[in-house]
Structures are given as structure tokens and as C-alpha cells.
């Protein structure tokens, strides 16, 4: 690729737009955000991903100014934002509930923020028209929010938060109410908007596929902490913990003990099962507990024992999950360990190679899996 990659987090010269410095947020004696330090850079599309109640909305509300950190500071463009009230921040938030003003028309909803800035009538009209066009809402300008569909309302909320061209836009589960097709359309729309306006986005989502599609970086959260923040590809291919590996996509975790071999670690995980081999950058001591995480699509499934791979296990098919373009096989090994393998469905169903109870061989290369400490 000749294109320069967008990775400001690897550039020591780059100035972050947002800096969280040892930020803790407590509600009473409950800690919602636990001593977090991280940066978000200009023009990023930063996705917060995590289970319900892990503190994603709290993070957003602190940026928007509706909650103050209990400890630590948040800097926006180098400035501490603690003393700045929400109406003075160059930050706009799109609420999960949309929070459209029911007594105002779509046009007036979008113009609301612009009017507060004391812009001229013509300027406001031009900007609103631009936003309506961008979100394909021109035909609905004169309707009230209760007269349009859920997806349209979601786009009004988006247009309203975009209208002021904020430095930073916070989207709290913006696509939650949309069907798969509209969701995908809107995701691409968002990325388009982001490219044309250069706004920095922070997006909260429950949907990992969405995070993978739109984000420049994904932050996986657990219990008030960011466990890993990295590009979607690295989060998927190089999770830093079993939690992240398990949270993003499908994975098989095989727990055993590591022993340094020649070039790769040898992992023994169960009585009577062959040793597995895995290359790893992380250091393990001999006999240390380890977890081999392996994605199902990297596991081949064959009827005969493959001759070219060291990692080969025999088992019987327990379950087949048919996903349309793919099938995931759940294969049970002799000790009860289940390993998932995925194949592309290039043939019609009736001519499928394997079926329930079949004895099969699973195999993968030394670099396919990743060794994790915990």
C-alpha cells in the first residue's frame, strides 16, 4: 500500500485531542471508572466496547460534561475541561435515546444548536440544508419527530449533533435501533461523514462487528477499565488477554502448561493428547500456565490426519452451526475439550463433507494460535 497509514498513536510527535489522566469516577462507593489513562487522537474513530454496565456511557458523559471525574483530569486539546460547562464545550453528544425535541420540527431540531451560536439566518439555513442532505432527510424537514420512523429519527439525532461541526462527537449506541441493512448503510455513512468533516468520533456500541467495521481503534472495557485499546485487526489477531480474545469474535481457549522448545513453545494440555506448538512473543517460563487462543477460521478440518502440520488433534463432531456463508463445527476431543473450526460453504448443503458424530482431524500452523497468560 502506498497510502500512509493513519496511526497517530504510534507517532510520538502526534498531539492527542483527548487525554484521560488517572481518571476515576465513583457513584457513592461504587467505582464506575477505575483510574484510567489513555489518549484519543484527532480524526480518530474510537470505539468503546464492553459488556453492559462496564462504564461506557459514564466515559461519554464525562467528556460531554454531564459528570465530573471523582479523581484525575481530562484534557481536550491540552486544556483541562473540568471547569468548562457542557454548553461551552466543543463537544456534541448523540444520545442513545436520541433526545429529539418533540415540540420542534426536524428542521428546527437540527438548527437548534446553530441558533444558540448566534449565526445569521442564511448561515443557519444553509447549514441545516447541508445536514438534511447528508442524512437524506430533506423530505421530512417540516415533520415533528413523532411523525417519522425510528431510523429517520436516529439520523436526525446524528444531523443535529453534527450540525455544529464539533471537534469531538460522542455517539452512544447510535445504531442500536436499526435493522441490519440500515445499520450497515449508516455505518458507512458515518465513516463518510468522518472522512469529509474530519471530526473525531467516540462511539459506544454493544455490537463488536460494528466496532470492527467503523473504528480506527477499539477499546475493550471490563468493569471500569480499558483492557486493550488497539486497531480492530490487532484486537482480533493479537488480543492481550483471554478476556479480550473471548469478547471479540469466536475463539477456542485451550489451557495448559508451556515449555520452551526450538523456536516455538510446547503446550501440553491434557492427558493422552499430543503436545501443541505455538510461537509467541510473550515469554513463558517452563511449566508456566498458559492459554492458547485460536480462531475457528484458522483451524482446518480433514478426514485424514494431515502430514504437513505439527498441531493435529482428533475428535468427533458435536455440533454444526450453519451461518450461511460459513459453518462452524464444534469438535469434541477425547478429554472433553471442545475446539471450534470454521469452513467456507463453497458447496451446497447436501454435499457437505462432514456431519454429526463424524471422526475428524483438526490442524493448524504454529503461528495460527496466540499464547496468553490470563
Amino acid at each position: 500500500m502506498s497510502q500512509t497509514v493513519f496511526e497517530p498513536w504510534n507517532d510520538p510527535q502526534a498531539k492527542p485531542l483527548i487525554q484521560f489522566k488517572n481518571v476515576t469516577k465513583r457513584f457513592g462507593d461504587f467505582t464506575a471508572i477505575d483510574n484510567q489513562t489513555f489518549d484519543i487522537y484527532e480524526k480518530e474513530f474510537f470505539a468503546l466496547l464492553g459488556p453492559s454496565g462496564c462504564g461506557k456511557t459514564t466515559m461519554m458523559r464525562m467528556l460531554a460534561g454531564f459528570e465530573a471525574p471523582t479523581e484525575g483530569t481530562i484534557l481536550l486539546a491540552g486544556q483541562d475541561i473540568a471547569p468548562i460547562p457542557p454548553n461551552k464545550r466543543a463537544v456534541n453528544m448523540m444520545f442513545q435515546s436520541y433526545a429529539l425535541f418533540p415540540h420542534l420540527s426536524i428542521w428546527e431540531n437540527i438548527a437548534f444548536g446553530l441558533k444558540r451560536d448566534g449565526k445569521s439566518k442564511d448561515e443557519i439555513a444553509a447549514r441545516v440544508a447541508e445536514m438534511l442532505k447528508l442524512t437524506r432527510l430533506e423530505r421530512f424537514a417540516n415533520r415533528k419527530p413523532h411523525q417519522i420512523s425510528g431510523g429517520q429519527r436516529q439520523r436526525v439525532a446524528l444531523a443535529r449533533s453534527l450540525a455544529k461541526a464539533p471537534k469531538l462527537l460522542l455517539l452512544d449506541e447510535p445504531l442500536g435501533a436499526l435493522d441490519a441493512k440500515l445499520r450497515q448503510d449508516t455505518q458507512f455513512e458515518l465513516m463518510d461523514i468522518q472522512e469529509t468533516t474530519g471530526t473525531t468520533f467516540v462511539i459506544v456500541t454493544h455490537d463488536q462487528e460494528e466496532a470492527m467495521t467503523v473504528a480506527s481503534r477499539v477499546a475493550v472495557m471490563d468493569d471500569g477499565k480499558i483492557v486493550q485499546a488497539d486497531t480492530p485487526a490487532r484486537i482480533y489477531e493479537m488480543p492481550n488477554s483471554v478476556y479480550v480474545a473471548d469478547f471479540i469474535g469466536e475463539v477456542t481457549i485451550i489451557s495448559g502448561t508451556a515449555r520452551r522448545g526450538d523456536g516455538a513453545y510446547e503446550v501440553s494440555f491434557a492427558e493422552g493428547q499430543p503436545t501443541l506448538f505455538a510461537e509467541s512473543d510473550t515469554e513463558f517460563a517452563n511449566g508456566q500456565e498458559c492459554h492458547l487462543a485460536i480462531r475457528p477460521e484458522k483451524v482446518s478440518i480433514t478426514a485424514e490426519k494431515p502430514s504437513d502440520r505439527r498441531n493435529a488433534l482428533e475428535g468427533s463432531i458435536l455440533d454444526i452451526a450453519y451461518l450461511g456463508n460459513l459453518s462452524t463445527y464444534h469438535v469434541e476431543l477425547a478429554g472433553g475439550q471442545i475446539v471450534k473450526a470454521q469452513t467456507a460453504n463453497t458447496r451446497r448443503l447436501s454435499r457437505r463433507d462432514f456431519t454429526w458424530e463424524d471422526r475428524v482431524w483438526l490442524s493448524w500452523t504454529d503461528t495460527a494460535g496466540i499464547l496468553l497468560k490470563g
Binding site: 456534541n92 425535541f101 415540540h103 437548534f112 444558540r116 420512523s149
Partner: protein
């Protein structure tokens, strides 16, 4: 489909007769051409004409309207503010006491309210007149406004106000541009309620009125002691009309607002 049985028709008629017969008689006799209240002598609107000539009644009517408009307006402002604090401020020390104290006048006997206000006005040396009636009416109608408005505020989505702040409003602008227009139906019905309460109050007004400021209810009350005149009937008919319009408008506004809210909620569920 359920049908009205004979029994139902009879109970309905009896019930309504019980409620409205006195008023119907009053309204009918206000159009009586005879000076004798109980003898029907043909239809006439002359008592309404006479009423317009009666300076004392007109003065009293003017006082009543002034008192009702001013006191219900002040009560609406104060009642809405109290409702905002009660619903929004969350827990603060003394909240239960505060809300109890706001709602107490609802159940307080009017005689007590009137008497205590009278004692207060005498105590601070305030001359009784139109001003003291306004103060008194504001005091007791404010809690009605507060009840109406706070029940609306309970279901108000606070993220709307946050959104307004987020888009650059000051807190006051957010209230004026977002919260107030949305809760306006409740505020208006609160105002109408306060207005009609003030219009027909006799007890508290008689405690707090001075010689120079007689309200209509006081005037009517004192003149029927000299005998019921057809003029009084005419006057009462007009008051019934005003109160009826007020109450009907208030309930229509509330009904429309709640229908609208239901429609919004249905739309939100479909989304």
C-alpha cells in the same frame, strides 16, 4: 356492545339531576322577566341589562378578575418552580418536609388558612384590600399548580434538557426553550385551575378583603341576605359560564397532551 338498560338510564338521570338541577333552575330564572324569583313570567334578558347598570356588582367583578388573573399567574410561576425543585433536585435534607409543606394547604380547611392569613396581615400591619386577597389566593392556589406540574415533570425525559445544554444552551435557556414548551399544557391547566379557584373563593376572600375591595362571591353572599334578586341569578349564570369554560379548557388541554404523549410513546416503541 353494552346497552343502556332502563335502570342505568334512571340512575344516570337522577345523578345528573342531583348535580345540576340547582344550577339549571338558577340559569332558567336568570331569564325570567318577573321580578319575583319563583314565578315564571316569560323569557327576558333584561336582568343581564340591569346588571350592567349596577356599579357595585361591576366593581366587585373587576376586583375579582384582577385578583384571579394576578394571583393565578403568580401561583403558576411559584408552583412551577416548586415542582421543578421537588422533582429535579433529588434528595436533599428536608425534602420530605418541603414537599409536605407545599401540599398541606390542599387539605387545610379554608377557614384556618383564611384566619391565619388574616392574623398575619394584621400582625405585619398590612392594610386589607385587593393586594391582600391576591397574596392569600396565591398562597392556596400555588399548591394546586405544583401538583399538576410535578406530575407532568415526573415523566419528563431529562436527557432532553441535557441535549439542550450540549447544543449550547444555558440552564435557563434550556428550561425556556425545551422544558417549558413541553410541559406547557400542564402549566396552562395549572393556571386555569388556580384562576377558577380564585374566582369562586368566598371563605378566604372574606377573611382577607377590606372594605374597599369586595369580590363577587362576597358581594353575592351579602346581597342574598337581603333576598334573592333575578340580577344575582344573572350574575351567577355568568360565573358558571366562566368557570365551566375554564374547567373544560383545562381538561381538554390535559387530554390532548396525554393523547399526544401516548402517540409519541407508541411511535417510540415501534422504532
Amino acid at each position: 356492545m353494552r346497552r343502556l338498560t332502563g335502570f342505568n338510564v334512571i340512575s344516570l338521570t337522577l345523578g345528573f339531576a342531583f348535580l345540576y338541577l340547582p344550577m339549571i333552575i338558577l340559569i332558567t330564572y336568570s331569564f325570567n322577566s318577573s321580578k319575583l324569583v319563583t314565578v315564571w313570567a316569560g323569557f327576558s334578558t333584561k336582568w343581564y341589562g340591569e346588571l350592567l347598570q349596577n356599579e357595585a356588582f361591576l366593581d366587585a367583578a373587576w376586583v375579582t378578575v384582577q385578583v384571579a388573573v394576578v394571583s393565578s399567574t403568580i401561583a403558576t410561576v411559584l408552583g412551577t418552580m416548586a415542582a421543578l425543585v421537588l422533582v429535579r433536585a433529588g434528595r436533599f435534607p428536608g425534602r420530605t418536609l418541603f414537599s409536605g409543606m407545599i401540599y398541606a394547604p390542599l387539605v387545610m380547611p379554608e377557614v384556618i388558612t383564611g384566619l391565619s392569613l388574616l392574623l398575619l396581615f394584621i400582625g405585619i400591619g398590612l392594610d386589607r384590600g385587593i393586594f391582600t386577597i391576591i397574596l392569600a389566593h396565591t398562597t392556596f392556589s400555588m399548591c394546586f399548580v405544583s401538583v399538576v406540574v410535578s406530575s407532568r415533570l415526573m415523566t419528563f425525559d431529562e436527557s432532553l434538557e441535557e441535549a439542550a445544554l450540549d447544543l449550547g444552551c444555558s440552564s435557563f435557556q434550556a428550561f425556556r426553550l425545551v422544558t417549558l414548551p413541553i410541559i406547557a399544557p400542564a402549566v396552562i391547566s395549572g393556571w386555569l385551575l388556580a384562576f377558577t379557584l380564585s374566582l369562586d373563593d368566598l371563605v378566604i376572600a372574606s377573611f382577607t378583603a377590606g372594605p374597599s375591595s369586595t369580590t363577587l362571591p362576597i358581594k353575592i353572599w351579602s346581597s342574598i341576605r337581603l333576598g334573592v334578586s333575578p340580577e344575582i341569578n344573572a350574575l351567577s349564570t355568568i360565573m358558571i359560564a366562566i368557570v365551566a369554560v375554564g374547567v373544560i379548557t383545562a381538561s381538554l388541554i390535559t387530554k390532548r397532551a396525554s393523547l399526544r404523549q401516548q402517540a409519541d410513546e407508541r411511535a417510540a416503541v415501534r422504532a
